[in-house]
Amino acid sequence: MSQELDYLSCRVVAGRMSRREFLGRATALGMSAAFANSLLAGAAEAQAPRKGGILKAGLQGGGATDSLDPALPAGAPPIAFGRCWGEVLIEVTPDNRIEYRIAQEIGSSKDAKTWTLKIRKDIPFHNGKEVTPQDVVATLERHSNKESKSGALGVLRGIETIRVDGGDVIITLKEPNVELPYLMTDYHLIIQPNGGKDAPAAGIGAGPYKVTVNEPGVRHGGEKFKDYWQGDNLGHADQIEIIVINDATARISALQGKQVHMINRVEPKVVDLVKRVPGVTIQNVTGRGCYLFNMFCDTPPFNNVDLRIALKLALDREQMLDKILRGYGSLGNDFPINNAYPLFPDDVEQRTFDPDKAKFHYQKSGHSGPILLRTSDLAFPGAVDAAQLYQQSCAKAGITLEVKREPGDGYWTEVWQKQPFYASYWTGRSTQDQMYSSAYLSTAEWNDTHFFNDKFDKLLKEARAELDQEKRKNLYREMANIVRDEGGVIVPFFNQFIDATWSGVKGFVKHPARDMCNGYALAQCWIEA
């Protein structure tokens, strides 16, 4: 609770929450109003961002092939850099509420098919021009164009038309979707002059930092953009620098040697060692990404629901969480959703290791002989070890699992979606609807468990148009149960984002969507004197 209060106080101080709202929420958490007030005063004193200085991050995931074009897929360094130079329409807060950026307001017609985005005025791009509704439309057009190579194409597929109406942008959808605002928080959707149609990789945006250095795979640098529209909230340091450090040990030594203020991707096996370094804080948060084993529901022997259940029951997930992630994660329940998602159905019974039941279902399935599981450390870190642990727990249920280690090179093209049983990873999406539509709908582009379930499809469509939150949550519960009991996905655990910062770094707010405060760490943190 204290963490939540800290977070809330920060938000008030940062001007993203009203004092009244804070007091309401604090009392809801069981605080007396007087105490909550004093808490707020303390936070304001302690948390007033200090301006100036150079803030540096050492990030994993960059390569010489990275580009400034926000349409292209990217690892942590380009995403974090995009957060510095670019501005988006809408952001999502760590507690899954909508935060307005370039869009000042968003509203929909009653059927959730026509959406109106009111565009904020007087937001300048780095080139001095103002962000116009035309730029917004052009950006959305570029990313939703069928010919587009944009990573956001998938989430924008439901758009029928986009047009400007005075100071507004009107989006018409092919089908109702109450979660459109969340779709607009996709990291690719940085608003660019003329949508980036002329110069997609120019690095001109409306974000708090101007691009000064861009050496993909080496380093990225920015200097403060003086005319940034919300300079009180973001862009505290004078300069920011991202150094691409792909080697895990090199990242930690760079932090220890004080060459950077923060790093991402601390490996679970060394977290306890890094914790012991004086002055270093571990920032870990459970995200929406999950590690999983996929079975094709339409390929023998996995087309038998009893066999699928048997394999799910034969997994010792507690042991796996403990051994593979050293506890830095949370248990999965064979559907790809956890409490980091809005409207998470928290009352679905947790599946546990039960070799006897597994044996019962295995025998009922009538299958005999070894079952081949393909794995690679590329699927997720520790996937080979996880498969071996799985092999042992299966043996206890009388199931023979054969583990085949595939080359990491080409794993996503040769094994993923090609073989009937394999280890995999999903980074998660911002909403349940997006996650399910990406991989569990019958017609999903990446239906990587070959899951075809009419009832599920119907529920998904229904939920998408359901404005009543309680009803929607009930629909999601029903869907979760279907995937959990009938689906082809085995989810041992959700991983955590584990970052580390120097104690002098303030303003770091953990975010379940992505590491490094959803990529905003450099833009929102400051260095205390």
């Binding site: 010489a64 580009s67 194409l153 795979g217 792909n246 040990t249 090199a250 060459q259 080409g410 996503w412």
Partner: protein
């Protein structure tokens, strides 16, 4: 001297070596091209990542001309290279020369300093080892060199980082260098990788120097020199070393080639923006033109240095230098 070369077999031999080198380079270009064709996975898929839609992949394949037959793409590529055009990277659409040159320069910068320290050091240590052969000094030098060479380079790298960067904080642990960085700062940044590389290549060159000179020391003329009453160091430096130069140059060139083409592990550990990491980044994304370009440059460096070694060996051979 010039006169001695005219009509001599030396010129002919040197010319032969160079011609052979060029031929080899062409053969390598075919191999590189063929190798990149059989990499598993699809370029378009790799560029767009795991979450790409099938449409996006198809669009990109078409755009990249991946549907042309392989031999056509080979001739287009070689033709381009011969006219100094390495083509454009598939992933970033930038001219390869533009992104590659700074990386090549960085690699040469690091290799130069590692060579500048390790070559004289290893030869001097080799000479000292011969002078005090089989004594405690020789044993100490050889022992240290052999121990260091049997440690994997990443281990040496991490040890250096732990002691010199983290504990003592004398040098930075990450060696990111960039354009416009002051020269002295640049040198300071690369101290740790240079030390690591020196340790890695030292033993090979030192042991070879020692062995080559010891070999010559068996000759009759060394005995004559000894009988003349020359000091041991004089004999080694003036009589033995010049006659042992061919094998030494050979091993030196081999190690220099390694310093240019084989240091990706050191680059990763010290976060040094050289060619190795650049190559790996592009292999991961199946950016074939870049992989080919880097492969060709590496091959050229390797073949070039070997030609230098061969020519040095020819020139060092008095029978070839002074034909009857």
């Amino acid at each position: 001297m010039k006169g001695a070369f005219r009509g001599s077999p030396v010129l002919k031999l040197v010319a032969q070596r160079i011609a052979l080198g060029i031929f080899l380079l062409f053969a390598v270009s075919v191999l590189i091209f063929a190798g990149t064709q059989i990499l598993p996975g699809d370029v378009a898929q790799s560029i767009l990542g795991q979450s790409a839609t099938p449409e996006a992949v198809a669009n990109l394949r078409q755009e990249l001309g991946l549907n042309d037959p392989a031999y056509m793409r080979y001739f287009q590529w070689v033709g381009g290279v011969l006219t100094g055009d390495l083509g454009k990277a598939l992933t970033t659409r930038q001219e390869i020369t533009v992104t590659l040159m700074p990386r090549l320069w960085n690699t040469l910068f690091l290799a130069f300093w590692a060579a500048a320290v390790s070559i004289p050091l290893s030869i001097i240590l080799g000479l000292i080892a011969v002078r005090f052969r089989n004594g405690p000094v020789d044993k100490a030098i050889s022992g240290f060199a052999l121990a260091s060479t049997s440690l994997p380079e990443f281990f040496i790298g991490y040890l250096l980082i732990l002691f010199l960067a983290v504990k003592l904080q004398w040098f930075p642990s990450i060696s990111t260098v960039y354009d416009g960085m002051p020269f002295l700062e640049k040198l300071k940044a690369i101290v740790l990788p240079v030390i690591a590389l020196v340790i890695v290549v030292l033993a090979h060159m030192m042991r070879m120097t020692r062995a080559a000179i010891l070999n010559v020391m068996q000759s009759a003329y060394i005995e004559t020199a000894e009988l003349k009453g020359l000091s041991a160091l004089d004999i080694i430096c003036k009589h033995a070393f010049p006659n042992a130069i061919a094998p030494i140059v050979n091993v030196v060139m081999l190690n220099m080639a390694y310093l240019v083409v084989g240091v990706v592990v050191i680059e990763v550990i010290f976060v040094y923006p050289g060619m190795g990491q650049y190559l790996v980044d592009h292999v991961v994304k199946r950016d074939v033109p870049v992989v080919q370009a880097v492969g060709l440059i590496f091959a050229a460096v390797y073949i070039g240095l070997n030609i230098v070694a061969d020519v040095a060996a020819i020139l060092a051979n008095p029978r070839l230098r002074h034909p009857k």
